[in-house]
C-alpha cells in the first residue's frame, strides 16, 4: 500500500510544483527525490512495514514477487529520470506535468503487481495507459506525435472496451470478480463455464494489445516512432513489463484452472511464434534505429510471452530477470538515441571514434538485448527457454525461440557495425560528464546481474 499511496501523492506534489516552483531545472531533482522516497517506501513494504493500514477487502493481494517487481520498476524509472531528465526539459513548458504523469503511471504499476480482483486489473491498466496517451502527444507542435497519440488513444480505448467485456463475461461465468479461485468454496459452481472461457479470450486479446504481442501489435511501430524519444523509452520498458506482470498473474491463476477446457498452451505458442516472426523479420528492414527499437520491443515481448506459456517458477524468475535486462538496456539505448541528431543507422556512423564511452556502453546494451553471455539479457533468455523445457511439451517453440534470437543479432549488430566499422561524424546534442558516468554505471549493473543472478533473486527470499 505504501508504494501506491506515495506514488499518487508525489504525483500531486509534482503537479503543485508546476506553479509553486519557478525554476524549470529543479523539477527533475524533485522527481528524483520522489522516486528515492518511493523506492524506500516500497522496500519498507517488502519487509512488512506498512505506513497505512487500509483494508482493501481482498481486492489487493501483496506478494514478495510483486514487491520485488515494484522495486525494479521504480529503480528503472529513477535511472530513466537521471539519464534523460535534461531531454525531458527540452520537450516543452510542461516538465512538472510530465513527471506527474510518470508518477501516476507508477501508481498503476504498483496496482498491477498486487491486484487480486479483475476490477483492480482494469483500474491498474487504466491508470497506466491514460497518462501515456497524454505523454505520447506531449510534443504538441509535432504532427507525428499528434498522430501517434490519436492512434494510441483510439486503439487503446477499443482494447480497454474488450477487456471490460471480458471481465463482465467472466463475472457472468463465475459470479465473482476475485482472481483467486473462490469456486472451490462456492457450492453453486458445477464446472467451467463457457462464458468464463470467452471472457478470458477477450482479456487475452486486450492484454496482448497492451503488451504489443502479435496479432495485436500493429499500433506499436507507429506509436513508438511518433512519440517523443524520451516517452518511447518509458513506454517500451517499464510500462510494457508491468503489463506482463499483470498478464502473468492472470495466467497463473485464472488460465491455469481452465486449461482442461481450452488449450492455452497452443494459443500462446501461436502468439509467441507470430510475435517473434513479425518483430524480428520487420526489424531487419528498418532504416531508423528508433523504429528498429520499436520492432525489437515487439520481438522481446515475444520472449517475455514464454513466461505466460510455461507458468512455472522458472517463468516468474525469468520474467523478473527479463524485466531488469530489457528495461535497463533499452533505457540506456534510448538515452543515447535522444542525444543523436540523426536517428538512422547512418547517424551512428563513427560514434566509436568521437565518443568511445558512449559507443562501448551502447554495445553492451545491444549485447544484452541480443542475449550474448555475461550480460543480463543472456540469463533472461536462458530462464525463459528453460521454463518451457521444464514443461516438457512444445519443444519446437524453444527451437523457434533460439532461431529468432539468432536473427535478432543481425539488426542489433548493425548498430555496432555502424559505430565501430564505419566512418562518419555523428551529430550530437551536448551532454555532461555525469551522463557518461550514468551510462557506465548502467552497463556495469547489466554485467553484474548477468554474472551474478543471485544478486537479483536473493531479493525474492531475504
Amino acid at each position: 500500500m505504501n508504494a501506491i499511496i506515495f506514488s499518487a501523492g508525489w504525483g500531486i506534489i509534482m503537479m503543485f510544483c508546476s506553479f509553486l516552483v519557478k525554476n524549470q531545472s529543479s523539477y527533475r531533482h524533485i522527481a528524483a527525490v520522489g522516486l528515492l522516497v518511493l523506492l524506500a517506501a516500497n522496500i519498507f513494504d517488502t519487509y512488512g512495514v506498512d505506513f497505512f493500514h487500509i483494508d482493501s477487502g481482498k481486492m489487493l493481494a501483496y506478494t514478495r514477487f510483486g514487491f520485488v517487481f515494484n522495486s525494479i520498476a521504480i529503480a528503472s524509472t529513477l535511472i530513466y529520470v537521471l539519464l534523460t531528465g535534461r531531454d525531458i526539459e527540452r520537450l516543452g513548458r510542461y516538465t512538472a506535468e510530465f513527471f506527474t504523469l510518470v508518477f501516476f503511471v507508477l501508481c498503476g504499476v504498483c496496482l498491477l503487481s498486487a491486484y487480486n480482483n479483475l476490477l483492480m486489473l482494469f483500474l491498474g491498466i487504466e491508470i497506466l495507459t491514460i497518462p501515456l496517451y497524454i505523454l505520447t502527444g506531449s510534443d504538441k507542435r509535432n504532427l507525428k506525435s499528434n498522430e501517434a497519440a490519436l492512434k494510441y488513444f483510439l486503439m487503446g480505448s477499443f482494447s480497454t472496451g474488450l477487456m471490460l467485456m471480458g471481465i463482465a463475461l467472466m463475472y457472468g461465468g463465475t459470479g465473482t470478480f476475485l482472481l483467486e479461485s473462490s469456486r472451490l468454496q462456492s457450492n453453486l459452481y458445477h464446472g467451467i463455464s463457457f462464458l468464463e472461457i470467452v471472457g478470458l479470450l477477450f482479456l487475452l486479446a486486450s492484454m496482448c494489445f497492451k503488451v504489443s504481442a502479435a496479432p495485436f501489435h500493429f499500433w506499436t511501430p507507429d506509436v513508438y516512432d511518433g512519440a517523443p524519444s524520451v516517452v518511447t523509452s518509458f513506454m517500451a520498458t517499464i510500462v510494457k513489463v508491468a503489463g506482463f506482470i499483470a498478464f502473468l498473474k492472470l495466467c497463473t491463476v485464472r488460465m491455469s484452472v481452465t486449461s482442461t477446457a481450452i488449450d492455452w498452451k497452443l494459443i500462446f505458442s501461436i502468439i509467441i511464434i507470430l510475435t517473434l516472426l513479425f518483430g524480428n523479420i520487420t526489424a531487419i528492414f528498418q532504416q531508423s534505429v528508433k523504429r528498429m527499437l520499436a520492432y525489437s520491443s515487439i520481438s522481446q515481448a515475444g520472449f517475455m510471452l514464454f513466461a505466460l506459456f510455461s507458468m512455472n517458477e522458472y517463468a516468474s524468475k525469468g520474467l523478473l530477470m527479463y524485466s531488469v535486462a530489457y528495461c535497463l538496456a533499452t533505457i540506456g539505448l534510448f538515452a543515447v538515441l535522444v542525444k543523436m541528431k540523426d536517428v538512422t543507422f547512418e547517424g551512428y556512423n563513427g560514434l566509436a571514434k568521437t565518443q568511445p564511452v558512449l559507443a562501448a556502453t551502447n554495445a553492451i546494451f545491444l549485447f544484452s538485448l541480443a542475449g550474448i553471455p555475461l550480460t543480463a539479457g543472456f540469463l533472461a533468455k536462458y530462464y525463459m527457454l528453460a521454463s518451457i523445457i521444464k514443461t516438457g511439451t512444445y519443444t519446437w517453440v524453444v527451437v523457434a525461440g533460439v532461431l529468432f534470437a539468432a536473427i535478432s543479432v543481425y539488426y542489433y549488430f548493425r548498430v555496432i557495425q555502424a559505430m565501430y566499422f564505419k566512418n562518419g561524424e555523428p551529430q550530437m546534442e551536448s551532454f555532461g560528464r555525469s551522463f557518461k558516468l550514468g551510462l557506465v554505471v548502467l552497463a556495469a549493473i547489466i554485467i553484474i546481474v548477468g554474472a551474478f543472478p543471485q544478486a537479483l533473486f536473493n531479493w525474492l527470499y531475504f
Binding site: I12, M15, F16, S18, F19, H190, I192, L195, T260, A261
Partner: protein, 133 residues
Amino acid sequence: MNSFVYLLDTVVTGNSADYVPIGIQIIFAAGFVATVMIATHLLGPKRKTAEKLENFASGIESHGNARQPLAIKYFLVAILFVLFDVEVIFFYPYAVNFKSLGWYGFIEVLLFVCFFLTGFIYIIKKGALKWED
C-alpha cells in the same frame, strides 16, 4: 469441441424462455428506429439549401482547415463540467447510505472532495480559467 458442448450444458442458470421478452424488445427497438427513419425519408419534403446541407458542429461555422487554432474555453468548460458532474453523481450512493456509513464514510467523502479540490486549485493556479488577457 466436445468439451465446449459439455460446457454449454453445465451452465444451468435459467430457462431460455426467460429471455423471450428481451428478444421482443430488441426486435421492437430496432424495428421502431428503422420504421421511423424510412418513414421520414419517404414522407418528408425535400428542400435542399446550402445552409441545411452543411455539417452541424456546435454552431461553429465549418469551413477551412481543421487545424485552425480555436478558442479552448468551450472545451475547458465542458471538461470541467463533466468532472464535477461525475463528482456529484458519486454523492448519490453516499446519500443513500449516509446513516449506515457514519463518520468513517463522511471522512472518506471529504477525502474524495479534497482530491477534487486539489485538481481545481491546480487548474486555477495554472491560469486555465483566465480568459481575458
